[in-house]
């Protein structure tokens, strides 16, 4: 296959990740439903996590552990383990934030009986 196509695919990973992030931020800022806002925040987190893993990727690299290919010398390339460790942490944090957000959404729904942020404005938004 053509090499140029592979290069394009490399960039496509970054492009997709940033696109997912932007979709998430758009959802969080433009949607009226509290649940959709929470989903938007969560989607933008996922996009960022994809981007981070893509940054650490090395073409043809193996997993950053002593895998068979690495030990017998056929494959000396490893992907960067640091971004993967960071992403694990970021996923856990994102999960925690989403859980707190959903708990607040439940409280707001019980208090106001609606999920539309236009109807929940006792405070100045």
């Amino acid at each position: 296959m053509d090499n140029a196509l592979f290069d394009l695919l490399d960039y496509a990973v970054y492009g997709t990740a940033i696109l997912v992030m932007l979709i998430g931020i758009y959802g969080a800022l433009a949607k009226k439903s509290l649940l959709k806002i929470v989903i938007g925040l969560s989607v933008s987190d996922s996009g960022l996590n994809m981007l981070i893993v893509a940054i650490g990727y090395l073409k043809g690299g193996t997993a950053p552990i002593f895998s068979p290919g690495y030990l017998d010398g056929t494959n000396k390339l490893m992907v960067d383990p640091v971004p993967q460790a960071l992403v694990l942490t970021a996923i856990v944090i994102g999960f925690g934030v989403t859980a707190v957000a959903l708990a607040l959404v439940i409280r707001l729904y019980r208090h106001h009986g609606t999920l539309n942020i236009d109807e929940i404005k006792n405070l100045k938004w």
């Binding site: 969080a28 981070i52 940054i55 944090i93 607040l104 208090h111």
Partner: protein, 495 residues
Amino acid sequence: MVGTPVLFIAIPLLAAFLIPLLGMIWKELVRIVPGLVLIYLLILAVNLLDHVMVHGPIIEIIAGWAPPIGINLVFSAFSGFLVTIMIFLGLLIWLYSYRFKKNVGYEPAKKYFLLLMMLITGSVGIVLTGDIFNMFVFIEITGISAYGLTAFYTGRDSAEASFKYLMLGSIASTFLLLAIMIIYSQLGTLNMADIANRIHTMNPTYKIISLIFFITALGIEAEIFPLNGWAPDAYSEAPGPVGAAFAGIVVKASVYAIIRYIFTIFDVDGAFNFLIIIGMLTLIIAEMAAIRQEKLKRMLAYSSIGQMGLVLVAFGFGTEEGVYAALFLMLNHAIIKSLLFFSGSYLVYNSKDKLIAEMNGLGKKLPITSFLFALGAFAIIGLPPFAGFWSKLSVLTAAADKNMIFIMSLILFVSLIELVYYLRVVNRLYNSKEKASSIEVKKPTANALITMLVLGGLILLIGFYPDVVTGVLHKASAALMDKSQYIHNVLSINQ
């Protein structure tokens, strides 16, 4: 030495998660244990600060990996000073809220103290860590506990304020992680000293992009205009002592993070001028907004935002005098704004809307609380015999050293606005012509009274003898300014 810096993170974190278990043994333990932990940490902080003043910074390596690979904690005169303020304030907040409301039962008290310990852990971690990703994790710990504390009261609109805070905080954390990854992808390191050492090799475009993302993300937490939309709601809906915790602990940690990025890590020209501009905007707009507020806590919140703007202006001078003034302001803001939140909570305790208009004649009904509120109000305006005077004076002299007459006059003009809206409240407390408020007052509990008296005493002490803190402040500002020493200290350490 009585311990190492890692205890500031390990002990409160452990205590936070042990609180529910200890509560099963004896319910009173959930209230007692945080206090014991904070007293121990305060002793530790003062001891370490004393040691650092003489022997230079303590750098602790976590898990045996020396920097730049592993995570390290830096307890310098600068970070140690901030940690000491935070722990001291945490202790006072604990003392104040020990029996804040008699009707707060075991379950809410358990959650409150758990979240408060997490908040202190996170904020202290932000200040101590020497690793940018580790700082991100601590910012998230602080953020999540702050969302929880904002939503503490179920009856009010607190969930709304908390959700607003969470939304902005969540976007902030996305930006922050993006900025961290831009730096990592360019330099391949997460250690602050190592980044600072090699930042000049980085492509300027990426450098500016990541700096912008950092400032946007941290600006949300540090209440910089125009990113501070969450702050007035969170302050006014959260319990009174939590307002003090936001003003005194969380925002301080975020301002620290901004300052650490601009002073130590990035070498971008113009970042200091940017700080002055953004600080001035925050100051002026927040004080303009404060004068229009009808609710006491919203007014205090806007005043707090304004003070943080002034702190950024003082840092923006970029000189050692400027840093000294900024640190002095941060110290004063921590004690004075806490006193205002503590006494203000009792002044509007039983009022439903917390309006300033409902505070008529409280000077007679609650003499000590009103007196302390007035003391705090005069101190934060910067009237001479109180602590606030010296910090405002040092900001003005730092501005004069840089020949920034326009900035000086603006600061003085804004002080006038401050004077107007604080005197408006104090006037209501003591003016006997207006019909006295019919709302039943709540006498402060003994521990709340002690807390407020301690803070009032401190304001007078620093006002009359500023020398008690100036020595520490000079060392702390020198420690921040000496960037190459910081890099050398961290990178030369070996296990």
